[in-house]
Symmetry: C2
Subunit: 390 residues, 2 copies
């Protein structure tokens, strides 16, 4: 099947913008994505659009896909909305890739948006809860942080990692986010700050939890048949994997590993004919600090129970052998749910095209994105390869 | 690109089942779809699943795709939920087709569900309203029936059709639905009944509006490379088109035509290399009677303003030259939002395989499905061809 290329990606700043609409945010992301393409497609050249959003916050509850594409002037474009909780954006990217590979579309826009900060904190708590399982988690009073806290408890009990290691995730990602002008919480923090923060859901404290954010992101994918028209870059979608799992934590075989991540990773690595050792960098889903540790293991960056050693040795720092979350991750860059997965692609695009500013890695050629829905009910993973030596 | 085949499709009865869960309904539809396949795929052979649902009725608000696939035992399957208001199911089918065509999957399950009758009628009204535009329709108090009533008013004013022609849609579709054991309102009605019903939103009366229903539907699509393993039938996806439009009626150029339907139809006919005259039958989106008249014109079954002549001449009756909504349509069969688009595919499958019982047409080979989101913000159209002479 034909190859798919990423020719542009852009996003709004992630942050607290309760005065902005979802349409306004999406339009800015779309414009930034267009401007990042060497020769941007005309609106009528865009064959399809896929928009990721959780979208239960009281706005355009039905048809928000067409509502944002009409707003940016994509008349009659094929468009639908994908929802897979916090992985909506990653699955929107997957659908865009399939649309191009299918031969039914040559140029496809993937994007996502969320507006979360114009609600009371109780409403936000409820809204986030919908990403958890309904009957046994949400309706029994378990918050979404509480679900991840159970994973963290089991992990810390089972392995040698400590709560200080959870805080190390925050220190690393805030350090990266401090260099990202689009980050929601773009400040660095000390290990002392991150260790002494107040509890949210023990053992997770405030620095172990990502913020609720507003924002949008967009990316443009094209077929190998037309890539020359648009781009001098050659960023190929080398692999893509998706998988699901039991939505409720209690139904799963393990509290310390996500089988959806393992299955999606296997598929993505196999498609790309690479392994974790070949990666130059990765953006992983660190909604809570424990999620980044678990991701290291499920993605094959280290053995089970060894994630903390990567952190302690600085191997996932920007100057380590496998930098993770150079963007700041969900922790510092922010987590506007539907925008997050496509936002990860923005960082990969910026890194692979040498446009990551202060965060720029040294000529990376292979990057991975990892986007998780709920506490692991769905995972989308994509691998991108820069084919042009820089 | 490789061809895609429909090897099975099934559904629950559509109706009022407030005591049943969305998972329970989906499981029944999935089981029926499996049983309709000559040699059903094992669960682990299903590579992907796409689930359509509006899903804002207070159940599993995030991740309901994985929630239903886990319930039927599809462990780790790639799964996401599609939302495009009432066209969620049609777009789930489209994504399944693209997934197979992309070469990334060989066997894909498309499906949809909705539970609508366990709410108060006010809540239902609100819920349906979310398929309309938010700021200028829903929040200003326009009900969803009211939006279609504006289309009907404009249509009746502009053309020769009368409210009696709207009632003729009900008479035809109830006549068909009376022969469908899966229909929600499976009774026939007289023209007198349908003319004298109480108003809902003038000029639309009760018989001009479909019911709110519960139900689920599912269909299995496979690639040409594996179709021999599963099916003796050869029902090929000949064409597929999708398009969007302004979500709000007031933004559009016309109140009497849906540009999303026209654009999607053009794409589907072109892909299938057929025209409307080649079709043997069609399932069209008759959420309100006016929608069926407009669909005839947008799909090219007749000239603009002439839809009523097809009805009066009986040409879309089961014994006419282009039977429409042999299933009973949304009007009689019912409209469990996310299940509707896939439910249309069930009727096409039953007709093309000779399993439509009392509704069976005489050896049809080419059928079309037409699924509309909101009042025309999104449309998905698919054309299916039976390649094996029966």
């Amino acid at each position: 099947m034909r190859d798919v290329y990423l020719v542009g990606a852009g996003q709004t700043p992630f942050g607290s913008f309760p005065e902005r609409s979802y349409r306004d945010l999406f339009a800015e992301a779309y414009q930034n994505a267009r401007e990042s393409v060497d020769s941007p497609p005309d609106p009528e050249e865009i064959d399809e659009a896929v928009v990721g959003s959780l979208g239960v916050g009281g706005r355009q509850l039905g048809l928000s896909g067409p509502a944002v594409t009409e707003h940016v002037g994509l008349h009659n474009v094929t468009c639908s909305r994908i929802e897979n909780a916090c992985a909506a954006g990653g699955f929107a990217v997957r659908q865009a890739i399939q649309a191009v590979k299918s031969g039914m579309a040559d140029v496809v826009l993937a994007g996502g948006y969320e507006v979360m900060t114009d609600m009371s904190s109780d409403a936000t708590k409820y809204w986030l809860g919908v990403s958890g399982e309904t009957e046994w988690e949400r309706l029994t009073g378990t918050t979404f942080a509480g679900v991840y806290a159970q994973m963290a408890s089991a992990y810390l009990d089972q392995y040698e990692a400590t709560t200080e290691d959870l805080s190390r995730v925050a220190v690393k990602n805030h350090g990266n986010g401090a260099k990202n002008p689009k980050a929601h919480l773009g400040f660095s923090c000390s290990l002392e700050d991150a260790v002494n923060a107040p509890d949210v859901a023990a053992p997770l404290n405030l620095y172990h939890c990502c913020p609720t954010s507003d924002g949008a992101a967009a990316a443009l994918f094209v077929s190998e048949d037309v890539v020359d028209q648009y781009s001098d870059e050659r960023i190929r979608v080398a692999g893509s994997g998706g998988a699901s799992d039991h939505v409720g934590l209690a139904e799963r075989d393990s509290y310390t590993s996500l089988s959806a991540t393992k299955a999606a990773a296997e598929s993505a690595y196999e498609g790309a004919a690479v392994g974790p050792d070949d990666l130059d960098f990765a953006e992983v889903h660190d909604c809570f600090a424990i999620a980044e540790l678990v991701a290291y293991e499920d993605l094959g960056f280290c053995e089970e129970g060894q994630a903390h050693t990567l952190l302690r040795e600085g191997r996932t720092d920007p100057d380590g052998d496998l930098p993770v979350n150079t963007s700041g991750g969900l922790k510092s860059k922010g987590h506007p749910i539907g925008a997050t997965g496509t936002g990860q692609v923005v960082e990969v695009f910026d890194q692979l095209t040498g446009n990551a500013g202060e965060r720029q890695l040294d000529d990376p050629t292979l990057g991975l994105t990892h986007n998780v829905g709920g506490s692991g009910g769905a995972t989308a993973i994509h691998i991108f390869e820069q084919e042009v030596a820089r």
